[in-house]
Amino acid sequence: MKKQLAIICMAAISIITACDTDDSIDRSIWINDSEDYNLPEYSEWGYNTFGAKMGRNYFVSCWHENPCIMEWHNSDKTLELTMNGCQKYKKNSSYDSYAATKEDVSLTIIFPCDSVINNCKKLYLLNGKNFDLTDPDIKVLVKRGDNLQEAITDIRSGELHFKRVQILYVNDRFEEAIVSGTFDIRYVSNGEKTWLSDGRFDLGITPDLFW
């Protein structure tokens, strides 16, 4: 009986003291922008957040399981970046923890690449790259609420800037690519003028999130 008890105790201790799986790097961490607390601050830590002003409201990351996903299209050598978020109303004060959600919104940008970026370790090739979103080779798709994804054809101005791309190693093991940058876009959709301004993103692209 004593032997069994000792085995149970040892097993319990080993379970309690075992190293945790290192999954916390995937979580979204929202640090308020010091000038506009409705947006996340621009960062390069892989916090898995993004945000932009969307007219009077905001397009921000909303604790989706996968706030971002990237896909390489080998057929036409294009890279697809999708940010899954939501449109939120402006917070009344900085003390409000959460703003009310209007609807889910996802923004997809498909842009051509000079180099082959067929795995997330090669994302560093985007470092410092600027893309003019009015370029006809670039596609922008928006999905709002339950509506179908809509291709934006009338883009008046826009820019996607990958300010910094880092290949992240945690305890000397490859973990993910940290893709940080800014974006702006002004477009007309169904006769309605819409704009995303002061956009910023800090995304951790793990091998699971790169297709």
């Binding site: 190293c19 790097i25 961490i29 308020n32 830590w45 923890s97 880092q166 290949i167 190693y169 945690v170």
Partner: protein, 245 residues
């Protein structure tokens, strides 16, 4: 006008009292402790663990503690006013510790590669040799518990720094090249304190050091630390040629 007359009378009374008494020397030996609260931005290489919506970042803010002891000869202009200087050794100790199992610490980046290491805690100890310059005004005559106020500054120069990192990871053999910046090369706390002195010829002093800020100097320049310090000090005074009252 009345205020001016009152102020002038006060200053004259202090000045006259300064030259009224006998002059003498005393030697103080003192020990003290000070506490500082510091801000998150002191550790720029720690990745936030929680959102600012949660009003915390996931690691305990650095709380620095400073111990000091010293020998300071003190020259009494009279029984009320004295000036002192000397030598003081100060050791500051600070620690960052995760509220959870670990936090991510970013080491220097190489090209496009960035390295995070999982760390339980980081502690650092800095030792300074300092020269204090202080002024003491005793509110009543000596010979019984007498309150006093003390004000001054200490010019501290860093001698040694020791940093200890407690890593968190499963794989053996991983050694992170974590470089925590050393303490400031030069610090100058400017402070004021209030205390009581007990004893006649040789006396015991206990005092409370009011919150103060520290001017700091690094290799790149000077500035003010945004941390408030405050603490306690006790000292024992050996007086020479002091007249018994």
């Amino acid at each position: 006008m009345k205020k001016c007359i009152y102020l002038t009378a006060m200053l004259l009374s202090i000045a006259s009292s300064s030259f009224a008494g006998n002059h003498y020397w005393a030697m103080n030996t003192s020990v003290g402790v000070n506490f500082f609260g510091t801000t998150d931005k002191d550790m720029d290489n720690i990745r936030a663990y929680q959102s600012s919506r949660d009003y915390q970042y996931g690691w305990d803010p650095k709380v620095a503690t400073s111990f000091h002891f010293g020998f300071t000869p003190e020259y009494y202009i009279n029984n009320r006013i004295s000036l002192s200087t000397g030598l003081r050794l100060t050791n500051t100790w600070s620690k960052y510790e995760s509220r959870y199992d670990f936090f991510y610490y970013k080491t220097e980046s190489e090209g496009y590669n960035t390295y995070y290491y999982t760390v339980r805690s980081i502690s650092q100890s800095n030792t300074y040799v300092g020269i204090p310059l202080e002024f003491r005004f005793t509110i009543r005559g000596s010979g019984r518990p007498t309150p006093y106020i003390r004000a001054g500054a200490t010019f501290n120069f860093r001698c040694t720094t020791a940093t200890k990192t407690n890593m968190y990871h499963c794989e053996p053999g991983i050694k992170a090249d974590i470089k925590i910046p050393d303490g400031d090369n030069f610090t100058m706390p400017v402070y004021a304190a209030a205390g009581i002195q007990i004893g006649r010829k040789n006396s015991f002093c206990a005092e409370f050091v009011f919150p103060y800020i520290v001017a700091v100097g690094t290799m790149t320049g000077f500035g003010f630390s945004d941390n408030l310090g405050g603490g306690f000090q006790i000292s024992y005074q050996f007086a020479k040629n002091k007249s018994e009252e």
